[in-house]
């Protein structure tokens, strides 16, 4: 079986390399893609959308439909992981463990027992390893800066590399860093499961809703020029603003999906203390 696989891989790989020889040379100005499509984007993007970063304009405006379904694919991935892994345990376990944060004393609470409602106790599962003090502190310092940078990446996507996808992933990664450096329950206190799931859908809704709004205002789906009458700007600036709205939607959806997948994956769907 392994040898059959190897033969197939070598055959297909050889075929791909053979086909790659027929490609036009890298950055060849006479190649089919560079003769009519690329020059249009390079010359007209700033006139038509007033967005300096051509990649962002192509991604969110000229090919906005494609990006909308990319966001939907990411949303579907989050839903798939949720459906496959999440287990809802109706009953509380017989014995729960709580840890007194200041003294490190662990107490066992039998079913029906209660602990005094205070922040001094944290819920733990059977095995508990202390989060390293240095890692915990450094991550606490770093996370706000990571999040600030993520917001910058989303907001500055018009002028520099970046945009909704990258910014959203970085935002999600900052929460994952919190979950790794401490435990999953700490991260869930910041972004609860329900809020996360709702944000996932809200991101996609912002994208599709912007498109539908353009349709209602009398132009094509995702033709942001239609937003000019709503935003009180000229149609070209409206396209720039439309791209920003859509990027924010992508950012929210990607951030929430990354966190959602991580939560389900790291705790095996049980939402306990995680890794």
């Amino acid at each position: 079986m392994k040898i059959t696989g190897l033969i197939i891989v070598i055959l297909v790989g050889g075929l791909l390399i053979y086909a790659a020889a027929d490609f036009p040379a890298w950055s060849d100005p006479a190649s089919p893609a560079s003769t009519y499509l690329s020059p249009h984007f390079i010359e007209k993007t700033i006139e038509e959308t007033s967005v300096p970063n051509i990649v962002t304009a192509v991604l969110a405006d000229y090919r906005g439909f494609d990006t909308m379904f990319e966001t939907t694919v990411i949303f579907s991935a989050g839903v798939a992981v949720f459906v496959l892994l999440r287990t809802f345990r109706r009953k509380e376990p017989e014995i729960r463990h709580y840890r007194h944060v200041l003294t490190g004393v662990t107490i066992r609470v039998k079913k029906g027992g209660k602990i005094p409602p205070s922040d001094d106790f944290e819920r733990i599962d059977g095995l508990w390893t202390p989060p390293d003090l240095i890692i915990k502190t450094v991550c606490r310092f770093l996370i706000p800066f990571i999040q600030l940078f993520a917001l910058y990446v989303i907001a500055h996507g018009h002028h520099s590399p970046g945009g909704g996808f990258q910014g959203g992933v970085i935002l999600g990664a900052s929460i994952i860093l919190l979950a790794i450096s401490q435990d999953l329950r700490t991260a869930l206190k910041r972004i609860a499961e329900k809020l996360d799931a709702v944000l996932c859908a809200v991101g996609v809704l912002i994208y599709a809703g912007t498109g539908a709004l353009c349709l209602l205002l009398g132009l094509n789906f995702l033709d942001y020029g239609a937003l000019a009458s709503v935003l009180h700007v000229d149609p070209i600036t409206a396209r720039s603003h439309g791209i920003l709205i859509v990027e924010i939607g992508v950012g929210i959806a990607v951030m929430a999906t990354i966190i959602w997948i991580y939560n389900n994956l790291s705790s095996g769907g049980k939402y306990n203390q995680g890794l």
């Binding site: 392994k2 890298w26 970063n53 990649v55 962002t56 991604l59 990446v153 590399p161 970046g162 945009g163 996808f165 990258q166 992933v169 970085i170 999600g172 990664a173 994952i176 790794i180 990354i258 997948i261 991580y262 994956l265 790291s266 095996g268 890794l275």
Partner: protein, 81 residues
């Protein structure tokens, strides 16, 4: 342009990719895959596709490595074949 760097990174991409396939320890494979993504990110940067490189660095080297490590922790670390 920059052909020595280009060649060095391309060689590393191939070595890391084969390493990720051959290694028995799945955690090691996940880390090697992260290294592969990072090398690809450098390649995109050399080609001038900075947006793609940024995405590769954030998604490939960052988020997906975390997912792989999480999955390895929840399943088994040794591969059978």
């Amino acid at each position: 342009m920059l052909w020595p760097i280009d060649l060095a990174i391309l060689t590393l991409v191939v070595i890391v990719a084969i390493g990720a396939l051959m290694v028995k320890d799945l955690l090691g494979a996940a880390i090697l895959f992260g290294a592969y993504s990072f090398m690809m990110c450098l390649l995109w940067t050399i080609m001038g596709a900075v947006d793609v490189a940024f995405t590769e660095a954030a998604v490939g080297a960052g988020a997906s490595t975390v997912f792989f490590v999480g999955a390895v922790f929840r399943t088994s670390r040794r591969t059978k074949d």
